[in-house]
């Protein structure tokens, strides 16, 4: 189906199901319980999961397949966001104008940056991409303020033209009247409450398309060529293939994915901040991809979810919350437990994240996907021979130097 073999079709269907059921799956705890803190099924975070998932899927097409480690992909994220907000400012709040533009402009920038950077390989390539992204960030923050609104971030002002804005049109991002920030269904079952948000489903559908596209690329001759480049560039050249156009195509495609993700960020929330282009943001997508499992299809998405979850959920756990959790304990023990946990949550969420990074890299060289596999293998020992593409990719990565 859809040009996929039955195994991939099954895989795709599972991913579609998981994506569509996210608002339910991420609300496992009833409201009012101490664990409700860990629920992640609210629109903003779900949107971020989908958007950063797209970002990481795209990054993986470059890094996972070709092994070229770009440290500047955040630049395309920023360019995508700026494109969309500019369309709001000039035309109207319909995201239909901005999103294609985001993909095109980031594609053009990726073509230019990739054309120059891909003249070098290995860490020299990484530093070139980093340099371009950092320049974009520094300029966006300062000199280019008329274009980017600098520190504050680009946003729509009442004085903006918005030439297409109709009288009855929503004044926040929408897709032909479907307003992104609105929820179309807020059911509750017992103590569980779920939020079905327009914006999330908009992102989710695009994310599924993006995933499907990446699945096709992985299975295509082009994807095979990219893996061949990662494996042995010398043989590639002596097989009559020039690797540069392939890597450049991969770079542009992944840049367009990043632009799309940036555009979606601005579609959910009409503000484009310059920090989106900083090296830390580029580093974040590298971490997401490797953490989840570079070169695997689902890994980068898992990595993206993992990091965004920590950023948004763990950073909000303060001492007050801790006291609620451990409130059932006698006072002395309660305070003791709070003291123990305190450094790892709230303002210490970075510490937890750092420790988990290290743990994953040390114990799971194939990333989170490998964890899934190990667990899976525990359940079906016999099926070791199953030629699971994911497992292979994860194993390969562990065995061969990536760049």
């Amino acid at each position: 189906m859809l040009g996929l073999n039955s195994k991939d079709t099954k895989f795709l269907l599972i991913v579609i199901f998981l994506t569509l059921a996210t608002p339910i799956l991420l609300q496992p705890f009833p409201e009012g319980s101490g664990m409700a803190q860990f629920n992640a099924g609210y629109p903003d975070l779900m949107q971020r999961f989908a958007i950063y998932g797209i970002f990481a899927i795209g990054f993986n097409i470059l890094f996972g397949l070709t092994g070229y480690l770009s440290f500047g992909h955040a630049a395309f994220l920023g360019i995508g966001s700026y494109s969309v907000v500019w369309m709001y400012k000039l035309l109207d709040y319909n995201v239909i104008w901005g999103l294609p533009l985001a993909i095109i402009t980031s594609g053009i920038f990726a073509l230019a940056i990739g054309f120059i950077s891909l003249r070098r390989s290995g860490i020299y390539f990484s530093i070139l991409t980093l340099a371009f992204a950092q320049m974009s960030f520094a300029l966006a923050y300062s000199v280019l303020t008329p274009l980017t609104n600098g520190e504050t971030g680009l946003q729509v002002y009442r004085s903006d033209k918005q030439v297409l804005l109709g009288a009855t049109e929503p004044t926040s991002p929408h897709f032909f009247g479907i307003v992104m920030r609105e929820n179309f269904w807020e059911p509750s079952v017992g103590n569980w409450q779920f939020t079905f948000n327009n914006g999330y489903y908009f992102c989710a559908i695009i994310a599924i398309l993006a995933f499907y596209l990446s699945l096709r690329i992985f299975r295509s001759p082009f994807g095979m060529m990219l893996r061949a480049i990662k494996s042995n560039q010398q043989r590639m050249n002596y097989t009559g293939l020039n690797s540069r156009p392939y890597t450049l195509a991969a770079f542009v495609i992944s840049g367009m994915y990043a632009g799309l993700a940036g555009g979606l960020l601005a579609s959910m929330d009409p503000l484009a901040g310059a920090e989106r282009m900083q090296w830390t943001a580029s580093g974040e997508v590298v971490l997401m991809t490797i953490l989840g499992g570079a070169g695997t299809l689902l890994g980068p998405v898992l990595g993206a979810g993992f990091i965004k979850y920590f950023e948004n959920i763990f950073s909000k756990i303060n001492d007050n919350v801790l006291h609620t959790w451990f409130g059932f304990l006698p006072d002395g023990i309660e305070d003791f437990m709070v003291t123990i946990v305190h450094p790892f949550v709230g303002k210490g969420w970075h510490l937890t994240l750092g420790l988990l990074f290290m743990a994953v890299v040390i114990f799971l060289p194939g990333g989170l996907v490998e964890l899934g596999q190990r667990v899976g293998r525990l359940f079906r020992r016999r099926d070791i021979n199953s030629a699971d593409a994911e497992a292979k990719a994860a194993k390969q990565r562990a065995n061969t130097p990536a760049e």
Binding site: G67, R119, M135, A138, L351, P365, R397
Partner: protein, 343 residues
Amino acid sequence: MDAILLQILNGLDKGSAYALIALGLTLIFGTLGVVNFAHGALFMIGAFCAVTMQRILTISQTTIDESRTDFLGNPMKVETPYVENWFGPELGGAIIDWAVPLAILFAIPVMICIGFIMERGLIKHFYKRPHADQILVTFGLAIVLQEVIKYFYGANPIPTPAPAAFTGSFDFGVLLGFDPNAIIYPLWRLVYFVFSLIIIAAVFGFLQFTTFGMVVRAGMADRETVGLLGINIDKRFTIMFGIAAAVAGLAGVMYTPINSPNYHMGMDFLVLSFVVVVVGGMGSLPGAVLAGFLLGILESFASMNEIKSLVPGIDQIIIYLIAIVILLTRPRGLMGRKGVMEE
């Protein structure tokens, strides 16, 4: 003319700081083949060695001064450092004043220990892993280290002044026949510059003239052969990691009076130091030093008003611009070897 001389001086000084950090990074990469994203954190820990030294020297005896009140109206607590109690305010004050230079003695063993622990406990398991894994695990370590420092020392910058003898500036202009105040430069920065040169020279001398250094250099060139000769290269590499950590740490200690240390100063330097190392050429020590000075001087020039008025914002991007130009004209940086980190 004097403005240009001043910026050259400034560039050399900035460059020495870059070179020193890049040197440590290159030592680790060159000897161990490990991309160490925690190097900035080592620099930061070095700086906090100075803070710790200062804290130790100012451990105080608390007395209550009934004649004064604090902000809540309670009798004022007056803190007198024990050092001042023991040696008298004169000498004791002088010792506290010299906390930063004294911290060097404290930092060397601490940093070497940290280096050993890092290498034996973590890095050694990553020699055979892909560079991406090395980056991730050392980056994770860097986050953990800086968060630990933040937990104990807070996020605010902590003032760690240079000894009083080195505050103020030196007037080069008068020496060279310019007007007074034409070319002045802070004494402590001059100290830092000389200190950097000494450390850089020491590292090169060590590698060039000692048997240990010779073996390590041979190991950098061809690890397996040296291993075959029956030399325990691993142990030497551990020591090398300790030395690199110490170099980073000392750079941090001496930098504290210039830049009040805070927990994220390592990350601030991380990207920059990688750019320096790569521009110099992966694994090349002379390249790292050369690139450090080059970037320092060009950065100084770019921040001159005359140049900024021609190209607004040039000082924001100059480092990256130079990196791009150099990498496009010289594929492996200034002095990089072929085949290193190129796959």
